[in-house]
């Protein structure tokens, strides 16, 4: 077999180029380190920031967005960019969850998850098998979901007839249940992405769809499964959100669509697909929550918090882009 190998050459990258590369690289790394340092210093010097209670507050506020963002991560890695139908899906599933409380918590949860999977999975199938543009498709889906939800509910708020949902508001060990669920789900998603053939296929399909097709990978199926997973995670967000608010209407999802996208992007995942991880999304969600928290504690308004969230996303997007360009120069 040795005959087949060609003589290996020394890695002969021209000196000029490597010097140039490392200079840009150093600049990027320095910027990132500086940003982290500033954040740490500002954080530590902020009254009440470095306390256990506050840490709980941060992770709690990251939990609901975080779970939805995990779902979006699957969609993004699979090359479908983003879903713009997250908020309506969460609202509709939340309404269904509260409306079915009389059946008991278990059945209500099951129905909610099934609905989330169905609604999102159908979109995934259209994207996966027909190659439809996910952005337009999810815009259409958001109209369809909201329209249907209003049509059925008459536009009014759903209030539960049984209080079974309240166990989702539990705080075992003084930490909200949704936080445990977030961590568990992040680990499960991360494991599936890294260790299963579904995960590998998803990265491959997401990075290069024509290549995946030519290599005979099941493009349609893989995409659909990813969206089904996303639907499940949206449903989990929905039940927690509905339980927390004790009532649900078509506005339940609020700004969740954009919050989830922000978390995914802040985690350094590119919308081009083929890259990203659940843990990085988790980090993105926590990063945004932590910075918002610092600003909150320092007395900045909600507006400033939102603005800084946008700037963080912009910063990460630019840095990640520059880095990956460097890496492949």
């Amino acid at each position: 077999m040795k005959v087949l190998s060609i003589p290996t050459r020394p890695n002969a990258t021209p000196a000029g180029r490597s010097r140039h590369r490392s200079r840009v690289d150093i600049a990027i790394t320095a910027t990132v380190v500086l940003a982290v340092l500033v954040a740490v210093v500002v954080g530590l010097s902020t009254h009440r920031f470095a306390t256990v209670a506050n840490a709980k507050a941060i992770i709690t506020s990251a939990s609901l967005v975080g779970i939805a963002a995990l779902g979006l991560t699957l969609i993004t890695i699979g090359g479908s960019a983003v879903s713009l139908a997250i908020s309506p899906t969460v609202a509709a599933v939340g309404m269904i969850f509260l409306a079915t409380q009389s059946l008991g918590l278990g059945p209500a949860l099951l129905i909610a998850v099934m609905c989330g999977m169905l609604v999102t999975g159908v979109q995934g199938a259209v994207v996966g098998y027909a190659g439809a543009n996910p952005v337009v498709l999810t815009i259409a889906a958001s109209f369809a979901i909201t329209g249907t939800a209003i049509g059925i509910s008459g536009g009014s708020t759903v209030s539960p007839t049984d209080a079974g949902y309240d166990s989702l508001n539990a705080t075992p060990g003084g930490v909200a249940l949704s936080v445990y669920v977030l961590i568990a789900l992040a680990l499960i998603v991360e494991w599936s992405l890294r260790r299963t053939s579904f995960g590998r296929r998803l990265y491959l399909v997401g990075e290069n769809r024509p290549a995946a097709r030519a290599a005979g990978l099941p493009v349609g199926l893989t995409t659909t499964v990813a969206w089904l997973g996303a639907g499940t995670l949206f449903a989990v967000t929905a039940v927690f959100t509905a339980a927390f608010n004790t009532s649900a209407n078509v506005n339940l999802g609020g700004t969740l669509t954009f919050d989830a996208i922000a978390a995914v992007l802040a985690g350094g995942t590119s919308v081009a697909g083929g890259r990203g991880s659940a843990l990085r999304t988790l980090a993105g969600a926590v990063l945004i929550a932590a910075v918002s928290d610092i600003l909150l504690l320092r007395g900045y308004s909600t507006g400033v918090q939102i603005m800084v969230k946008g700037l963080i996303v912009l910063f990460v997007v630019v840095i990640v882009h520059l880095r990956s360009k460097e890496g492949r120069a």
């Binding site: 005959v3 087949l4 060609i6 290996t8 990265y203 030519a214 290599a215």
Partner: protein, 512 residues
């Protein structure tokens, strides 16, 4: 800079020098695409640039047209050294271009495409006035029948190419560069281009003509500059050239042939692939072939000859293809890549960047992408099986084991191609290996390694079918060569065939 460069031969047609390339050098990473290339073109001259694939022709073109900046060397136009920073600057200096890759916009109309990027277009466009000029322009390339307001997407690929040529010719440029302008054109269409080019040079402008069609080069051009492996070999007046002498200039000394098998070694296998009546509307007409297990067969044809389409259709990637295909006697429905793969057909595209490799993923992922079912248990990756399979493949492909975890993007082109080919190797379920131009952009060493891989696959009983435009490769590797020209098979050759015959058939079709 100048030493070691062949002094330009005297021109066939005397004229004032217009363009001079002086020691142009360009590297991409550690690929030295062009080294100290020098030549000059006179006013009124049609100057050909020839060379094998990857010789550096297009890179020279890119430097002359402002798309790439030379690492060193200079470009003089009308005696003045110019810094061609961008396409606009080059155009401002009177350099028009037809790129090797079709560069028109299908969603625009014919007229809009003709105006596109023209530095003379004013902010307010006056269509009426331009209309007359465009009509004349279209007439000159034989598109008199085409409506100026039709979107280009209504036109055939050949017609689109003619539009791009018309655009360049209509820019009143001092130098018009045509990089393989006729590769996708029929004879009739090409004739219009030749006529138009001849007309344009009478106004004193110069043409740089890149082509693999040696016949047209000899008919049309005044001087030929031949490049080989990034360097200029010679510039010769056409009067002093024949097709055969030009081929020798391009190929240089043929390297020593590796163990090319005799005809007896093959042909005893069972029929592995049978294709009949393969047609792709507008591209391939009624192609058929039978291959035995262990045979290596080349479909040889120039760009646009339909050779690639034949392979893609067999791989199920052309939805409009019709064909009867059987693998080991079992019929495979066309148009469905997964069915083809299930039947044992593995395909290696000629476009490894967009249709082949997952560039940002590690070598290991790329090699195992088509084998996930074999390395997983109940959907979970079995790390032991994964590493064992990987180790076997890395060894088989002659890759560095240590780099299996590096992104494929960081490998050299040759090694990338080995990874790509390696995906279809060492698998019992692969019966037919299809490779579309497997050594495009790969150097001599990498090419030999890939050839060895293909041979080894054939020895294990796989039927190998590949396309190539490269004579050397055809002669080295193939047991059977089917030449193609304009969508139809010209001739099937088994055993030794003279290279010149193949080149002739690929560039001229069947002898008449």
């Amino acid at each position: 800079m100048q030493q070691g460069v062949n002094p330009a031969a005297p021109f066939a047609r005397p004229g004032e020098e217009l363009v001079r390339a002086e020691g142009l050098t360009k590297s991409f990473g550690s690929t030295r695409a062009v080294r100290r290339a020098s030549f000059s073109i006179a006013r009124g001259e049609i100057h050909a640039l020839c060379g094998h694939n990857g010789a550096g022709k297009s890179t020279v073109v890119k430097m002359l047209s402002g798309q790439e900046t030379p690492d060193s060397g200079a470009i003089r136009i009308g005696g003045e050294v110019l810094d061609l920073r961008s396409r606009q600057v080059a155009q401002g200096n009177g350099i028009a271009l037809v790129d090797q890759e079709l560069s028109v916009v299908p969603s625009l109309t014919v007229a809009e495409n003709l105006m596109l990027g023209d530095v003379r277009t004013r902010w307010i466009t006056r269509r009426r006035a331009a209309g007359k000029r465009f009509r004349t322009l279209l007439d000159s390339v034989g598109l008199g029948h085409v409506d100026l307001d039709r979107p280009l997407s209504d036109l055939s690929i050949g017609e689109r190419q003619l539009i791009e040529i018309a655009r360049a010719l209509g820019q009143d440029a001092r130098l018009v560069i045509l990089d393989e302008p006729t590769a996708t054109l029929s004879d009739v269409e090409s004739d219009y281009v030749y006529a138009a080019v001849r007309t344009v040079v009478t106004t004193g402008c110069a043409i740089l003509f890149v082509s693999h069609r040696l016949g047209e080069v000899l008919d049309l051009c005044d001087n030929v500059t031949v490049m080989r492996d990034g360097e200029v070999v010679a510039t010769t007046p056409v009067a002093d050239l024949t097709i055969d002498s030009l081929i020798v200039q391009m190929l240089g000394e043929l390297p020593h042939r590796p163990d090319k098998r005799t005809k007896d070694d093959t042909g005893d296998g069972a029929e592995a692939l049978a294709v009949s009546g393969l047609s792709v509307p507008g591209r391939v007409d009624d192609f058929g072939i039978v291959l035995r297990a262990g045979q290596v067969c080349a479909v040889a044809g120039q760009l646009g000859s339909g050779a690639s389409d034949v392979l893609r259709a067999i791989a199920g990637l052309v939805p409009s293809a019709t064909a009867g295909i059987t693998v080991d006697g079992v019929a495979v429905g066309p148009g469905r890549p997964r069915a083809a793969i299930r039947a044992g057909i593995a395909f290696v595209s000629n476009d490894r960047k967009s249709e082949g490799l997952f560039l940002d993923k590690p070598t290991s992922w790329n090699l195992l992408a088509t084998r996930l079912p074999h390395v997983t248990r109940l959907g979970v990756v079995n790390r032991r099986v994964w590493s064992a399979t990987l180790a076997r493949l890395v060894e088989l492909c002659g890759l560095e084991a240590a780099r299996a975890d590096h992104a494929v993007r960081s490998l050299s082109g040759g090694n990338q191609q080995k990874v790509f080919v390696g995906r279809g190797l060492g698998r019992d379920d692969v019966r037919v290996l299809l490779l579309d131009d497997p050594t495009r952009g790969v150097d001599i060493g990498g090419r030999a390694a890939i050839h060895a891989l293909l041979r080894a696959a054939a020895d294990r009983g796989v039927a190998v079918l590949f396309t190539s435009t490269d004579l050397e490769e055809l002669l080295d590797l193939a047991d059977v060569v089917v030449t193609m020209h304009k969508g139809v098979a010209v001739q099937r050759h088994e055993g030794t065939t003279a290279g010149a015959v193949l080149v002739r058939e690929m560039t001229h079709g069947a002898a008449s």
